[in-house]
Amino acid sequence: MSFITRGFSGRSRERDDRLPPGQTLVHDFPVLSAGPTPDVDTADWEFTIRTESGEHRWNWDEFMALDIEDVSTDIHCVTHWSKLGTSWRGVSLDTLFADVETELEYVMAHSYGGYTTNVPLEELLDGQAWVAFEFDGEPLDPEHGGPARLLVPHLYFWKSAKWVRGLEMMDQDEPGFWEQNGYHLHGDPWKEERYW
């Protein structure tokens, strides 16, 4: 279903090929969270990957000693805004999973404050995802997920869990927080997988 809206011409015709359908380019960085912003001190911060065989754990200093990458990427929020060419620094999930043995194929990301989101493991590896702690050359603001957030830019941005504290391997795909509250299980912006 689609029809022309009487009197609407729209403003922008500089349609950028990097914008997925239904998205609008913004230059600020809007915020949406379901609750208060957690206050997480890097002194207490830990990141864990939990598998069927055990747990891999990094504190902040150990994390900072890992191989750190500069990432330039477009990001797309389900609420119809996109930012192009954003710059981040973080640790690739390939680095974090280098010594992790698992047969399980699905991941639940867990955040400080209780937020969760699900992503298949194969969509986190091969240069597709990071745990990012810098945005635009500055430490990541708490309201944007600082001290560290997941960055999975090829999926809608709710998958890039703010305040991430760990990944739990699962044998099947289970819905996380927004996925239980109306958002799509997968979330590919190019297919407009916004809602179920």
């Binding site: 279903m1 809007p30 119809h80 805004w81 209780g114 809602y195």
Partner: protein, 269 residues
């Protein structure tokens, strides 16, 4: 509405969320009526073909299509709730907006719009305590900044319509008396049998004879106006990012449980 990757709130069971909310879909909406809500906002009443009803607090997407196929889509909170196919929006005109100036200034009765929804299963409230079952009435504190009052008005109206016994308060921060959305309706809710207690904070200009000077809400004013943490209210906060961040941080400092605070932020578009 914006960057959706976060929440410091416990997750409801998936079954509950799936059951509770009608499935979202695209619908043709006909504008039944428009009226000026505030100097900067318009109320749109839509008749939405096939609308499955919505819970108080939900939102929808509006998609506009230009003759050459160009489309623009934005999310708006819904000011109404229940099974009706009449859906009410109240839209604030953003200074550099592409969609909101069109909806606020150009749209008139009889126009058709495409809408997708209802959306969102978290920032919603449902009546729990009917007459005679006051024991489980969980108090509800609503806190609105500006146009953020829209979904909170929907919740307050649903509370009154249900005759729900839960104590309800709305703390509403607004620039001037003319900027109050749903002013008549809120007055009626204050006098209703399931009363709403309304606390207004004027940030730029107060009505004549108002007891407090105009100014941004302070932590003290928040503490004085909200249901105390000890009564374990469910708190809904909606407004600009700055407003919500400030208020939610204060609520946590005042002892409210993070998982009892639900937030919705109006982002920069």
């Amino acid at each position: 509405m914006s960057d959706a990757a976060g929440g410091s709130t416990q997750v409801a069971s998936p079954g509950a969320a799936l059951r509770a909310v009608p499935r979202a879909g695209w619908h043709a909406a006909t504008v039944a009526a428009t009226r000026r809500e505030t100097p900067n906002a318009t109320r749109l009443e839509l008749d939405v073909d096939g609308w499955p009803g919505n819970a108080p607090g939900q939102h929808l997407d509006v998609r506009l299509t230009a003759p050459d196929g160009y489309t623009a889509t934005r999310s708006y909170s819904i000011a109404s709730s229940g099974p009706s196919t009449r859906v009410v929006l109240a839209i604030d005109k953003l200074p550099d907006g592409e969609v909101s100036p069109f909806l606020v200034d150009e749209v008139r009765a009889g126009d058709q719009l495409e809408v997708h929804g209802p959306l969102g299963a978290f920032f919603v409230w449902r009546p729990g305590s009917r007459l005679g079952a006051a024991a489980d009435a969980r108090p509800v504190q609503l806190i609105a900044g500006g146009s953020g009052v829209v979904p909170l008005y929907a919740i307050a109206q649903a509370h009154a319509d249900a005759g729900d016994l839960a104590p309800f308060r709305l703390l509403y921060s607004v620039r001037t008396p003319e900027d109050v959305y749903f002013a008549d309706e809120l007055r009626e809710l204050v006098a209703a049998s399931a009363p709403l207690r309304l606390d207004l904070v004027y940030t730029r200009r107060t009505p004549e004879g108002w007891s407090k000077p105009a100014g941004r809400i302070t932590r003290k004013a928040l503490e004085d106006a909200v249901i105390p943490a000890g009564e374990r209210p469910l708190v809904y906060v909606c407004g600009s990012t700055g407003f919500v961040e400030r208020v939610a941080d204060w609520l946590v400092e005042l002892g409210h449980e993070a998982r009892s605070i639900r937030t919705e932020r109006y982002g920069g578009m």
